[in-house]
C-alpha cells in the first residue's frame, strides 16, 4: 500500500496534465484567476526598460539537488519566460542566487536569451550573482543590492525563510515596487506585512502559467486543481467517517 499510493498519485496527476495540454494546444485554454504578483511582471519589465534601471530577481536559497529544487525550477521558469523580453528591451535583470548549483542554470537563461537575439557577446557574466548559502548572509547581500544599486523593481520568487523580511525592508526603504512569492511558511509570515504583491504557497508554481500561458503550464495548474479537489473530498470523507 505504501508503494501503491505514490504511483496512484502520479497517474492521477499525469492524466489531467496531459488532457489539459492537449486541449490547450487545440486552442481551448482554461481560464486563470488573477495573481497580481505575476500579472504585474511584464509591465514592471516595461517600466524598467523606460527607466533604464534593471529589475532584481531574488531566486532564494534553493539548490539543484535538494528539497527546494522544484521551487527553484519554478522560479527559473518564471524568469526564463521574461528573459527574452528583458534582453530585447536592453535591460536584463540582476539575478541573486543563494546556492551555487543554481548559478549555471540562471546564467544559461540569459546566455541563451542573448544568443537567440544574435548578440551573444552582449551577455554580461555579472548579471547573475552568487551571494551566499547562509540565509542571513544571502538576505543581507540582496538588501545591499536593493539599497545601493539602481534597481527598478524587486521580484522575489523562491525558497526563503523569515530573513526574506530584510530584503523587502530594504526595497521599501527606497520605494521599489515588489512582487514576492515564497514556498516556506516562515517566509510567508515575514512577507505578509511587506508592501508587495504576495503570492502564497502554491501560487508560486502558477508563475510561469501567468507570465507565459503555455499549454504545459496551464495543464499543470489544472492537474493541481483536480488533485486538490480530490484531497479535499478525501479529507471530508475521512472527517465524516465514511472512509
Amino acid at each position: 500500500m505504501t508503494l501503491v499510493l505514490p504511483w496512484l498519485l502520479i497517474v492521477i496527476a499525469i492524466l489531467p496534465l496531459l488532457w489539459t495540454v492537449i486541449r490547450a494546444r487545440r486552442g481551448r485554454t482554461p481560464s486563470l484567476r488573477s495573481l497580481p504578483a505575476f500579472d504585474e511582471l511584464p509591465a514592471q519589465l516595461g517600466h524598467s526598460a523606460e527607466s533604464g534601471a534593471p529589475l532584481l530577481f531574488t531566486l532564494g536559497l534553493g539548490a539543484v539537488g535538494g528539497d527546494r529544487t522544484l521551487t527553484s525550477i519554478a522560479a527559473l521558469e518564471t524568469m526564463d519566460e521574461l528573459a527574452d523580453a528583458a534582453v530585447a528591451y536592453g535591460t536584463p535583470p540582476v539575478v541573486a542566487v543563494g546556492d551555487p548549483t543554481l548559478l549555471p542554470l540562471a546564467e544559461d537563461v540569459f546566455r541563451r536569451a542573448w544568443t537567440q537575439r544574435g548578440t551573444p557577446e552582449r551577455y554580461d557574466p555579472s548579471t547573475v550573482r552568487f551571494i551566499g548559502v547562509q540565509p542571513a548572509v544571502y538576505a543581507a547581500g540582496v538588501a545591499d543590492i536593493l539599497g545601493h544599486e539602481r534597481i527598478h523593481g524587486h521580484v522575489l520568487i523562491g525558497s526563503l525563510d523569515e530573513e526574506a523580511a530584510l530584503t523587502t525592508h530594504a526595497a521599501e526603504g527606497r520605494g521599489i515596487p515588489q512582487s514576492v512569492a515564497a514556498d516556506r511558511l516562515s517566509a510567508l509570515g515575514a512577507l505578509y506585512p511587506a508592501d508587495a504583491h504576495l503570492a502564497v504557497g502554491e501560487e508560486l508554481y502558477a508563475g510561469p502559467a501567468r507570465v507565459a500561458g503555455l499549454p504545459r503550464y496551464l495543464g499543470s495548474l489544472r492537474a493541481q486543481d483536480v488533485l486538490r479537489l480530490l484531497i479535499v473530498a478525501l479529507i471530508f470523507l475521512k472527517a465524516l467517517g465514511v472512509w
Binding site: I14, V21, P100, L103, P104, F130, E172, E202, Y205, R216
Partner: protein, 209 residues
C-alpha cells in the same frame, strides 16, 4: 547535430536520471536502489564543483565593482573571501593550523551571521507598523490578532491571565494555524509534484534550449 547536442541529449540524460532515481524510491529492487544511490552521489560531487563556480562569480562581480561607488565594500569582500579560502586551505593541509580556521568561523563569521539574523525581529516590527498604517483590511486585523495571541501566549505574563492566554495560544496554533499551514503545505506539495512530473516527461527543460 546541433539539435541533438542541445536538446535531445540533455533531455534524455535528465529524464533517464530522473526516472531511475524515482523508480529507486518506488520499486523495491536492489539494482535500482544501487543505481539511484550512485546517481545521487554523482549529483553531490557535481554540486561541490558548483561552489568553485560560485566563488569565482563572487570575485568577478566584486572585482568588477572595484571601479564604482562602494568599491571599498567590494574590496573588503574580495579580501575576506580570499582570506577565508587561504585560512581554510592552510587549516586543512596543516593540522596544527586547524585552530586558525576554527577561530575564523567561530569568532568572525558566526557572530556576523548572528548579527544580521538578529535584525530580522526589528525589521518585522517595523514592517508591522507600516502594515497597520497603510493597509486597513480584514486580513490585516486577523494577522494582528494572531500575532498578539502568539506573542502574549509565549511571554511570561502573570498566572491568572497567563493560563488563559497560553490555552488560547495553544488552541490557535493547533487548530486555525495548523489548518492553514496544512492547506499551504498540501498546495506546495502538489505544485512541486507537477513541476517534477513536467521535468520527468520532458515538458520542462531548464537545462537546454
Amino acid at each position: 547535430m546541433d539539435r541533438l547536442m542541445k536538446r535531445i541529449l540533455p533531455a534524455s540524460v535528465a529524464m533517464g536520471a530522473g526516472v531511475l532515481v524515482l523508480l529507486g524510491y518506488l520499486l523495491p529492487n536492489p539494482l535500482l536502489t544501487t543505481v539511484q544511490g550512485e546517481l545521487i552521489r554523482w549529483a553531490i560531487i557535481v554540486a561541490a564543483f558548483a561552489f568553485i563556480l560560485g566563488f569565482f562569480n563572487i570575485l568577478r562581480v566584486h572585482l568588477g565593482r572595484s571601479r564604482k561607488s562602494g568599491r571599498i565594500y567590494s574590496l573588503m569582500l574580495v579580501l575576506s573571501a580570499l582570506g577565508s579560502l587561504g585560512l581554510t586551505t592552510v587549516a586543512l593541509l596543516l593540522p596544527p593550523f586547524r585552530v586558525l580556521g576554527d577561530w575564523w568561523f567561530r569568532y568572525v563569521l558566526s557572530p556576523l551571521q548572528a548579527t544580521v539574523a538578529g535584525l530580522v525581529a526589528f525589521v518585522l516590527v517595523v514592517a508591522l507598523f507600516r502594515l497597520v498604517r497603510h493597509r486597513r483590511e480584514a486580513g490585516v486585523l486577523i494577522f494582528l490578532i494572531a500575532a498578539l495571541i502568539v506573542l502574549l501566549g509565549t511571554l511570561p505574563v502573570p498566572a491568572l491571565l497567563g493560563d488563559r492566554v497560553v490555552a488560547l495560544r495553544t488552541w490557535w496554533m493547533s487548530v486555525p494555524a495548523m489548518a492553514g499551514m496544512r492547506g499551504l503545505l498540501i498546495g506546495v506539495g502538489l505544485g512541486t509534484l507537477l513541476i517534477g512530473l513536467r521535468v520527468l516527461i520532458g515538458a520542462d527543460r531548464p537545462y537546454s534550449d
